[in-house]
Amino acid sequence: MQGPIGARLVQLVPTIFLVSIIVFALQQLMPGDPAVLLAGESAGNPHVVAQIRDQLLLNRPLWVQYLHWIDGVLHGNLGYSWRLSEPVSELIAQKLPVTVQLSVMAFLFAVVIGVPAGVVSAVKQGTAWDWAANAIGLSGLSIPNFWLGIVLILVVSVDLGWLPPSGYVSLARDPLRSIETTIMPAFVLGNAIAAILMRHTRSAMLQALAQDYVRTARAKGLSETRVVLRHALRNALIPVVTLGGLQLGLLLSGAVLTEQVFDIPGLGKLVVDSVFNRDYPVIQGVVLVTALLYVLINLVTDVLYAVINPRLRGG
């Protein structure tokens, strides 16, 4: 896991290369003719369909198609969406901020709920508090995202009329509306992460509370709150922080279903719609970018871990 960052960066190259091949292979495996879907209501005319196939190079051998695409990518060109004619890079630039906003808000939710809940349950181990925090944590892990989303829309938006049921307003245009439109999906997305954070905080806290320096602090007559917050929590947070980084990487991909349910126009919705429309250049582009983000976040997390964790540096 350690080792110089340079070596790790070099390792990314084959990984991303493999991702590109897997994605390319996968979409070839998917049944469905992009040309027919593009023709839409005009697919009744065989000449129209044949011409589209021709223009999209769909009649050429696979390796030609792959090389054509990879050549573009290496020159910084992710190609054009077949369905929308927009440059894929532009689509991604439009959608990425949405998904990032959603993920960051979800992550904030997760931290705000998960860490304190973990601390409380560790400090009050064995009490009703502990039990309740555990129950919340486990339910977060066990409730399917999309179901929670549906139920929330039903209750909060339809019955109570408190929040818009779906849609998205960008942060730049109207911050308040933007938060209104993303708060429910962020909660849905964040609650599972909250559960994971809570559990890790709890076990890290329990470990920290059993350490000598905590006992020493107690013996010095420091107040319990001070002991918990100043000494135990600080150490317990080290693994939690790095774990958080990992979860952030997962969030990007976890947004797929949530965006679908709440009709949030982010990367996840873009890629699912592109799969259903067989818009290959978009699928390829999005997966490539998310994969790159994922491995980069992993790398940063690993480096952070090595930097923060003194034990690892020693060993």
């Binding site: 003719d33 065989p46 223009q55 705000v112 304190p116 938006s157 009329g161 126009p265 719609d273 259903f276």
Partner: protein
């Protein structure tokens, strides 16, 4: 724990000012059932795309609520003879970039439709041999052969006129910022989020326009679409599912506008497309007739569509001029169905695989049909498929029976030709009957509606015997809108025309 409560509190606190959704300016927000494809009238293939074009782009002709063809950018037409069509153009019309609309623009646009690589319009106006500019306001279309459906095409996407300078400059990127001669001009599009148009002040019919902005917002999930309408975030939703109608009607602020559509849904059998047509149901017309007799269309529509859709046994709905009243769906008759099955000598239960695109309502309908077929001796296996996969399977012949719908065209040809004529793309089962082909071709050349209807009546007789397709129902266009939105005219093609619509003061 405490912070969890805090988070909930935060949630509640923020909820206060949530939905003061009535904007100060006159913006109309329209909910679409899906995101349109490219906004280039020459390249566009999606149904909802046509709804957006109606706000942006005027056509040579349009339909009124009775589906009669009425003038729009053309003021009228005359047939010199069956292969020479003269179009008279409206004077004083400007494109949204200031270019003048004239005969040259018509020639440019139709030529683009006919020649552009990937044009989806080519097949629709293929009968045009040449386009002659007679004078700035008169165009003559010379046809290869008489084409009864041509005017209808010019009232559809091929009739949309594009600003020639912009189209020539932008080429295939025209769809990223289209410029036409309609009431609203394109401002921006964020794919899967919204399409924004603003009022074009020099629109030729500006007095009919009462909004400053129009936003088209695609929302795929029907429940979410409805919730947005109820919450006031949308002013009009172009499609409400039938089971949601009571919810809209219960809402004091909303109303439903419902009318017949042009489309239909049915079951297409694989009767000749590859080895998978060699099944009992593919080989015996009598089995297909028995299959049809076992379906109670009324009950099916009652269960799945709250009884709102119309049972049919032909490709054209009752609202169409080409509807043949004598062709009526038969009542469910299990005895007769069993007799037909017995006559073929095929051993029951007869296995039939029914491929269904996985939209919830179609799956529901398929399951109802599955239950209805059992007593007639059919063991129906449902094969739900993601839409694109089902299309691929259908075209390559990997199916026995395919449940699929069609959005419909005002002219019957658009509902029949590519579906029943041999060698055409929507004829998934490769139904091939020379008599049917000849009738379809003859109908294209027939001079009057009555003559065409008579030809179609004969055609339905053959189709009812061969049963390559079981026509089941014709959907309704169900629009949900605010009661304060006035002047909405419902046309059976489902396209939302903005002319004459306004908010109550």
């Amino acid at each position: 724990m405490r912070s969890f409560l805090l988070a909930i509190g935060l949630l509640l606190g923020l909820a206060g000012p949530a939905l003061a959704a009535t904007p100060a300016d006159r913006t109309l927000r329209i909910g679409l059932r899906e995101d349109p494809d490219i906004l280039d009238p020459t390249l566009s293939g999606s149904y909802v795309g046509r709804i957006v074009f109606a706000g942006m782009c005027d056509k040579l002709f349009d339909y009124d609520t009775k589906l009669d063809i009425v003038p729009q950018l053309a003021t009228g037409y005359t047939y010199k003879d069956p292969t020479h069509l003269i179009l008279h153009l409206r004077p004083g019309v400007l494109f949204q970039d200031g270019e003048k609309f004239n005969a040259a623009a018509v020639k440019y646009t139709l030529t683009r439709d006919l020649t552009m690589v990937r044009s989806l319009r080519k097949g629709q106006i293929n009968d045009i041999k040449s386009i002659e500019v007679i004078n700035p306001l008169t165009v003559e279309l010379v046809l290869k052969a008489p084409d009864a459906a041509l005017l209808a095409q010019l009232a559809g996407r091929p009739g949309i006129m594009l600003a020639p300078d912009v189209a020539a400059k932008e080429g295939k990127d025209f769809g990223l910022h289209p410029v036409c001669a309609g009431p609203f001009r394109f401002v921006k599009r964020i794919p899967e989020q919204k399409i924004v148009l603003e009022r074009f002040k020099r629109y030729w019919d500006a007095k009919a326009i009462h909004f400053d902005k129009v936003e088209y917002i695609p929302i795929v999930n029907s429940a979410v679409r409805l919730a947005n309408l109820q919450a006031g975030a949308l002013d009009l939703v172009e499609y409400i599912v039938p089971t949601d109608v009571p919810a809209v009607e219960k809402d004091p602020k909303l109303r439903i506008a419902m009318d017949t559509s042009l489309g239909y849904n049915g079951i297409t059998f694989n009767v000749g497309n590859g080895p998978e047509s060699k099944t009992p149901i593919g080989e015996h017309a009598r089995l297909r007739r028995a299959f049809a007799l076992a379906i109670d269309r009324k009950a099916l529509i009652h269960v799945v569509y709250d009884g709102l859709y119309t049972p049919i046994a032909q490709a054209n709905p009752p609202s169409s001029q080409f509807y043949v009243p004598s062709v009526q769906p038969p009542a469910r008759d299990i005895k007769k169905a069993k007799a037909l099955v017995a006559a073929t000598g095929v051993k029951t239960p007869i296995k039939v695989t029914l491929m269904v695109p996985n939209s919830p309502d179609l799956l529901q309908a398929a399951q109802v049909i599955q239950a209805m077929e059992q007593p007639a001796g059919f063991d129906v296996k449902i094969q739900a498929m993601e839409f694109a996969s089902s299309l691929a399977a259908a075209r390559s012949g990997h199916f026995q029976a395919y449940m699929i719908g069609w959005s419909g065209r005002a002219d019957a040809d658009g509902n029949m030709y590519s579906f029943l004529h041999s060698g055409y793309g929507f004829n998934y089962g490769h139904y091939d009957d020379p008599k049917v082909d000849a009738l379809l071709d003859a109908a294209r050349r027939a001079p009057t509606v009555a003559a065409r209807r008579a030809i179609y009546a004969r055609l339905w007789g053959i189709v009812a015997k061969d049963m390559p397709v079981i026509y089941l129902w014709s959907p309704k266009n169900i629009v949900g809108l605010k009661k304060t939105l006035l002047g909405f005219r419902q046309v059976p093609d489902g396209i939302i025309r903005l002319q004459g619509m306004r908010f109550a003061k």
